[in-house]
């Protein structure tokens, strides 16, 4: 968000049509996508996967719909590769986010056979012959597997997710023992994929709850021996929207593709609020 008090605050963007060649897009609704192509039998060593995808396209229909696509894949391919196969050769309108394709960028969290996972960390052999893919729950769906991530990042931003400490000579390192460093190691692994937050039944039902990922990122600073903002973060998390909404269902821990013990981190924050600080 721009800082409106700054002398350089950005003016509202003006809408003007300088280019006179007409709009980029044609008028009217876009074409309906074509039917899925027939595919031959799987080649030797390949397997057939039928992937059932919950589709949504606000430019075509108001409601979501289900669609099935059969693809032939190597057993060691990723589910992301299968979704690419569908997008690249069956239906170009299929929309999903992805980038690194090996589980570190956090783009492709989706609900796969009912569980939140990264499509790039699921192998075909583990889901074939049939697999169901839906967008993660609890965030507005924008198109197919793409959801609005803004509410998720707002929760993260609310945690003051940056080290608060101006002490020490900037030309030297501050000391931290391996034990102090280890104290918050687990929660530094978070890639902000939202798999945990959107697996939480409390988050689905209560849009005010900040959700597990925000708490994980608060935890990362609260238990960092160098940080001086723990009281403020614990105060925020003790509020109505905070940590006590958690009902310890462990969905978040199960969903985390980075193996973070999310529920444990949430419990530690609860304990700190109850016993250490207040």
């Amino acid at each position: 968000m721009p800082d409106d008090t700054s002398p350089w605050a950005a003016p509202e963007p003006e809408d003007t049509e300088l280019w006179e060649g007409g709009p980029l897009w044609e008028e009217g609704p876009p074409r309906e996508p074509g039917a899925s192509p027939r595919i031959g039998p799987p080649a030797e060593g390949q397997v057939r996967l039928t992937v059932r995808i919950r589709r949504y396209n606000p430019e075509l229909r108001e409601e979501s719909w289900w669609e099935e696509h059969a693809v032939n894949m190597e057993p060691t391919d990723r589910l992301l590769d299968a979704l690419h196969q569908v997008k690249w050769y069956h239906d170009g309108t299929l929309a999903l986010r992805r980038s690194c394709a090996h589980g570190v960028c956090g783009s492709d969290a989706m609900m796969i056979d009912g569980r939140n996972r990264l499509a790039c960390k699921v192998l075909i052999k583990d889901v074939a012959p049939k697999c169901t893919v839906e967008p993660i729950r609890g965030l507005p769906v924008l198109k197919d597997l793409i959801v609005d991530m803004e509410p998720f990042f707002e929760g993260y931003h609310a945690m003051l997710p940056y080290l608060i400490n101006d002490e020490g000579d900037p030309r030297r390192e501050r000391l931290q023992s391996p034990e102090e460093r280890h104290r918050y190691d687990d929660t530094t692994k978070c890639i902000l994929c939202a798999a945990c937050t959107t697996s939480c039944p409390i988050f689905w039902g209560d849009e005010e709850y900040v959700g597990p990922a925000a708490i994980v990122n608060a935890h990362r600073f609260i238990y960092d021996s160098r940080d001086r903002g723990a009281d403020e973060r614990l105060r925020i998390l003790s509020e109505r929207t905070g940590v006590f909404r958690c009902r310890t269902t462990f969905n978040c821990t199960e969903a985390c593709p980075r193996g973070i013990e999310v529920t444990k981190a949430i419990q530690e924050v609860k304990r700190s609020i109850l016993f250490d600080r207040f």
């Binding site: 300088l18 876009p30 986010r97 990042f153 391996p178």
Partner: protein, 578 residues
């Protein structure tokens, strides 16, 4: 409807270099950052092993030793003043990250721990030295997170999922950029006094790569189309240890911690190729050694085209505490348990040494005389300073992005603070509309995915670890054919909302452009140096080729090559042995 914005400084890309520049610029002038991904998705987050700085926390070390290794590692194509400056500034850069909360691994006395890395040595090559500061094997992830956190603290204005598609120039000065908003399909014109490109690499021109799908060379291609040359494009690094058939990176830190490479006979073959530093030789040497072992019939894997990376002898706690992520990659993607079995690996396209030519203030410079383009900057992998020369040393990419991201951010802010806002060129978004319309209304005879796959396969086979004149000439013909077919693609998705199909087609255009520049530069350079190995010219030729390549695209689509001198310094080019 096109939307117009006005900023002093616009940064394109939100990986390490873009974020570091944004921290610097946003403190001083009105700054906007546009990124085609959410910032935390950027590929800086995939960097694993470490960031080098001569802190001497664990072993005696000096920035000058680091600079020597950088120059020698780059096979003397490095601009030596830039390397000396980077290695000097490395120490403060590490302390700055520490003060911003970077959770470095620590020594028992609480200082930042350091470990060995390929090509980093004590006293000009005597033995490996512990120079790499690290966070387990997720150093890049933590740098990306830390820099993004600092941007949140400073209220930096982000435009996420916006693609920069054109650079606006007025009388040789930067006037802004044209961007496409993925969520709505609308164009945005960002008028600006200064623009910094930090769009990362272009490993997606190759079939086997460690690079993310997003790394399609957008920045280099956009500026190239506007007359800026691309420097040293023939130098692309193949990292020796990519996961077999997939290319996913297995960090050099594995060898830094004691892992070794084995051939089909169980021999530690690097002892023959680099007797002093063995498995910790620079990446170009190790990748060629693997290639040679495979060629001589000592490969492993189903097609005998891989080697083994072996960590079975390492203590369990080293694997679990210092290398948890890469161990997990082997388990997930190969079904291999590294504590009990060796991991099959093969060289994977990893890092572009070449890119948009800049000076040490990240200003984009033209020609052999290095004339700056007023207001135009580039930093990180998309840029070529050149601190990596013909082959980058491991960890120096993370160092590059924070050092030159910072310098670029400072300089662009200073420039924007003094300059006025140029008038944009007339019909500024016309050419972008034309490109997008051409794709949307294309004949739909060819698949983007087919053309891209063929491009990647041929680039990997004919312009990979080993190259030859014959292969490169053949490849030029193939590229011409692919470009023709690119004119026949179409877009099935005619909608405006999250039309990722349209953007993939645009990105293929960038990949084709970048490939043209790589192949033309590789064909011209009839010597072997660093990452560029010509089997028909196997020796380095300093008499003719101790100079940078500059590739320009002419209006008719042909490529014109120029050269510029390497900036030498204290280190006299000598034979590169390890």
């Amino acid at each position: 409807m096109t939307t117009f914005h006005t900023y002093d400084a616009v940064i394109v890309g939100a990986g390490g270099a873009g974020l570091r520049a944004a921290i610097e610029a946003s403190d001083r002038v009105r700054t906007g950052v546009i990124s085609k991904l959410y910032p935390t998705r950027s590929h800086t987050g995939a960097a694993q092993g470490g960031m080098c700085a001569a802190l001497s926390n664990v072993e005696e070390d000096y920035p000058e030793w680091h600079a020597f290794d950088t120059v020698k590692g780059g096979d003397y194509l490095v601009d030596q003043p830039a390397a000396l400056l980077m290695c000097e500034e490395a120490i403060d850069a590490i302390y700055e990250l520490e003060h911003w909360g970077m959770p470095f691994n620590r020594t028992t006395d609480g200082r930042i721990d350091q470990r060995r890395f390929g090509g980093h040595t004590r006293n000009h090559g005597e033995a490996p030295v512990k120079r790499a500061c690290y966070v387990a094997d997720r150093t890049g992830h933590m740098i990306l997170q830390t820099l993004y956190q600092q941007c949140i603290k400073r209220n930096v204005r982000f435009f996420n999922e916006f693609y920069a598609l054109d650079l606006l120039l007025t009388d040789g000065r930067v006037a802004g950029i044209v961007a496409y908003e993925l969520a709505t399909g609308e164009l945005h014109v960002f008028r600006a006094k200064s623009v910094l490109f930090a769009t990362g690499g272009y490993g997606r021109v190759f079939r086997i790569t460690s690079n993310a799908h997003a790394l399609t060379g957008d920045g280099p291609a956009v500026v190239w189309r506007r007359g800026v040359p691309l420097q040293d494009m023939e130098f692309f690094q193949f990292h020796p240890t990519g996961i077999y058939k997939m290319g996913i990176l297995i960090s050099e830190a594995v060898r830094g911690e004691g892992g070794i490479l084995l051939n089909s006979e169980g021999e530690r073959f690097m002892e023959r190729y680099a007797p002093t530093v063995k498995d910790l030789a620079p990446r170009d040497l190790v990748s060629r050694a693997i290639y040679q072992e495979i060629k001589e019939g000592r490969g492993v894997g189903s097609r005998r085209d891989a080697a083994y990376l072996d960590v079975r002898h390492l203590p369990h706690e080293v694997i679990e505490e210092k290398l948890p992520d890469v161990t997990e990659f082997a388990r997930v993607y190969l079904g291999v348990e590294p504590t009990r079995e060796p991991v099959p690996i093969q060289p994977t396209a990893h890092y572009a040494m070449g890119g948009i030519p800049t000076n040490t203030d990240a200003q984009v410079v033209l020609g052999p005389e290095e004339t700056p383009v007023a207001g135009l900057y580039a930093a990180g992998e998309c840029a070529c300073v050149s601190v990596h020369g013909a082959n980058r040393l491991g960890t120096n990419s993370l160092l590059d992005i924070v050092v030159f991201g910072r310098r670029g951010g400072q300089h662009m802010a200073r420039f924007a603070g003094e300059a006025d806002l140029p008038e944009p060129p007339s019909r500024q978004e016309a050419s972008t509309v034309e490109t997008l319309r051409g794709l949307l209304r294309g004949p739909n005879i060819e698949f983007v995915a087919d053309i891209r796959a063929e491009l990647q396969r041929h680039m990997f086979d004919l312009c990979g670890v080993v190259r030859s004149e014959k292969g490169l000439r053949e490849l030029q013909g193939i590229l011409a054919g692919l470009r023709e077919r690119y004119g026949l693609v179409g877009i099935q998705d005619q909608g405006r909302v999250f039309n990722t199909e349209l953007m993939e087609a645009v990105e293929l255009g960038f990949l084709l452009d970048v490939s043209d520049a790589i192949v033309a530069s590789a064909l011209a350079r009839d010597e072997s140096r660093g990452g560029h190995y010509r089997e028909d010219h196997q020796l380095r030729d300093d008499d003719h080729w101790l100079r940078h390549s500059l590739a320009y695209r002419e209006a008719d689509g042909s490529i014109h090559l120029e050269h510029k001198d390497v900036k030498l310094g204290p280190y006299v080019p000598m034979e590169r042995k390890y």
